[in-house]
Point group: C2
Chain length 220, copies 2
């Protein structure tokens, strides 16, 4: 795919954007990164994702791919010769898609309540978040990655949340490693990969960002 | 795939179950249909979908595939030689996945409010529902199907909602055909296919079902 023009509209703190950054890094694809101000979205973002008006958007030769999981699968299908994300067996593919969908439907909502709410809602979010991580720990089992011996689709879908762990722990007043040691060991294993380490922001910087969001939302 | 054992755990009125019924019919695959009582779920359903505890679940040689869109893609990948649902081009595939995801995220919620709420919430649902259908009409354009000349992935994801149109119109007190004539023309075109006609229940029977649900939920 020579002469490809690739642009990523993203926000540095987005775990959804991180998925595409990691996927592109795993495939060793060069692209132009454009940071979006989510409180003042660019005309390009609104033009490229008129339906959801959200980052991340991958723009490939002028054509947008929206929704991060769809983007990861797109990257896997276009650059299919290097480091496949999805397994080849249809049942294993369906399972990987199921867990990526679970992360989007369950983990994201519960995680958000930990820093984006107070009181009972926050406590409920914390409890559900730990339950979700324990479910995922069960899926991981004794494998090094969700993709088995290979870092794959579910690993890419999930690891971005790790950059927010310090924020969850700070606002939720708990230790994720004490609750889910195998999950944290997996996350640290992923962080040893260049593709992940370079795509995830510093956890302390994310905490500062979470703090400004809480102030914006009147939570402190 | 000779000697395959296929079981579908489903509920007749579910537009998500209809997706799998249509997909299996398009591929001419035989399966055992098991109706679930959603107020008294079977041990098999709880065992096969412990995470979401929802129908539909496709069980293939004893192994469950949960979430209807994932199931449709699974069927397409396993029985790939007949009537492909997804296009072959990665960008076209990403687009089809985007619209199936849109249907799940937006259309379903708004449609539910029309029969599953009253007053302002119902009115808001009706307005959003029509907006969604108009967006989808724009995507369809002048093509016979969302899949172009071929009935495809987005068609399968979407057509089940048509069996609820009489319920939406009855509780929302409006005519969908007056608002979105091209959408209804598309739905009628799909209904001419055996796979669809045999998989969708009668709209009047769905209305009776919606009425019992409204009574259960204390809405009338």
């Amino acid at each position: 795919m020579a002469n490809d023009e690739l642009v990523l509209l993203d926000c540095w703190a987005s775990m959804f954007g991180m998925r595409l950054r990691i996927a592109l890094a795993e495939k060793e694809i060069k692209y132009e990164y454009k940071e979006e101000d989510l409180w003042n979205k660019s005309p390009l973002l609104l033009q490229m994702n008129p339906i959801h008006k959200k980052i991340p958007v991958l723009i490939h030769n002028g054509k947008p791919i929206c929704e991060s999981i769809i983007g990861v699968e797109y990257i896997d299908e276009v650059w299919k010769d290097k480091a496949p994300f999805l397994p080849s067996d249809p049942y294993d593919r369906a399972e990987a898609r199921f867990w990526a969908d679970y992360i989007d439907k369950k983990l994201n909502d519960t995680a958000r309540k930990i820093w984006g709410a107070n009181g009972e809602e926050q406590e409920a979010g914390k409890k559900e978040f730990i339950e979700c991580l324990k479910v995922l720990e069960g899926v991981l089992g004794e494998k090094p990655y969700f993709g088995g011996d290979n870092f794959g689709f579910v690993d890419i879908a999930l690891i971005g949340f790790y950059s927010w762990f310090h924020s969850y722990e700070t606002y939720g007043n708990f230790s994720i490693e004490a609750e889910c040691p195998k999950f944290v060991a997996w996350a640290k294993r992923c962080m040893q990969r260049d593709s992940v380490a370079k795509s995830l922001p510093d956890q302390h910087k994310v905490l500062e960002y979470a703090k400004t969001l809480r102030q914006k939302f009147g939570l402190e």
